[in-house]
Amino acid sequence: MSNTGCCCSPANQNKSIVQSASTTLTLKDILGTVKVRLGIGRMGYTIAPGLYTVGNPNATSPVLVSANYKLTFDTLRKNLSGLDCWLLILDTKGVNVWCAAGKGTFGTGELIDRINTVDLPAIVSHRNLLLPQLGASGVSAHEVALRTDFSITFGPIRSDDIKGFIASGYAATKEMRTVKFTLLNRLILTPIELAAAVKASFVVFGALFLINLFASRLFGVNDLLAYAAAVLIGTVITPVLLPFVPGKAFAFKGWLLGIIGTTCIVWCYGWFSPSYWLLGIGYMLALPAYSAFLAMNFTGTSTYTSPSGVLREMKIAMPLIAVSLLLGIVLLLIKAFTG
């Protein structure tokens, strides 16, 4: 993982300088977004914390608070075209607002420190801050008011609603206040799941290569395709079809699609035949369990799972996944070494 362009790079140290933020994205910004979505250099994708201008703000212009993840910053400024406002960017270590709020880096303490660092009371005459609603799990509004005189309004969840929110005199619709998880949202977030699973797969490929050196039935292209299908089902197909797949637990959803997919593949390859049954049953046990595990990891990406719920799901799913996976692997190994 690359750490270049880290938030501590020397060029970004001078916090007293107010920088301007453009509301149009360059080709470089867009390419940067694509790279991040593919999991390349995601951790170092930061901008310097501090105060930024959008348009030509004055002492009465609104102050918007956000995170120093460049993807967040880009999405935000793109949606502020035509507005004159200030952007107070907190040091969230390059993490988006919601995750950073959960970790406390988009937090009460950092906000108060940042207000003082940029000397905000000297720059604006009003005492209001507009925060993204998802920052509320890290920032206590009454605590900030108590310690800085600044009162906080939590604005809409999505930055494309900010203009509408400001135009309506800071009135949010229920729509603006509710977090969504649309098909497009899920689709955009699947490449990173797939990339992580592919990286982990090299361990599997290494093991299979070693086994092939001694085995009497070699793992080949068909085995690879069956495995790839299971990975795809767990990391892409289940997340994309999420609300349409029966069940509530993510692991169950992944397992269900996994067993359907694996059954099709095993049947196609004729691995249900008497001479291949070890292989067929082995894959039926191992691959859907793996899909279930990968799908379960998508709970972290989803916007509607509670920690208590995830824990409940895991307590039931993890032992089942482990047993199914182990039994499956044992059968596959028996087949590999007995031919």
């Binding site: 799990s137 998880f181 999420l242």
Partner: protein
């Protein structure tokens, strides 16, 4: 289609007698769990709660309690190995 997760798991609890009607909980909840009835907040649908903790942190009278955390399986698995509280691992780049 609406997403639905496991029922009867959320640790959210709320003491309506402490409510001063500031409406902050309805402002911060990303799943519309709270709504106002006259001058008092009430819980509309507890099963939608994701335990993000925004309401509890922003309730000036501490009328709301929730065991806040991240609903993330890989964070939970990581916490089993490290022995720490589950936290979102999406930023472990060792930056700064």
């Amino acid at each position: 289609m609406k997403h639905k997760y496991l029922k009867n798991v959320a640790t959210l609890s709320y003491d309506a007698s402490k409510c001063i009607g500031c409406e902050r909980c309805t402002e911060v909840c990303p799943h519309g769990v709270f709504a106002m009835n006259e001058d008092t907040a009430w819980i509309v649908e507890k099963d939608l709660c994701i335990e993000c903790g925004a309401c509890a942190l922003n309730c000036p009278t501490r009328a709301i309690h929730v065991n806040a955390g991240v609903g993330c399986a890989s964070a939970v698995i990581k916490s089993w190995f490290t022995g720490k509280e589950p936290s979102c691992g999406c930023s472990d780049g060792g930056c700064c």
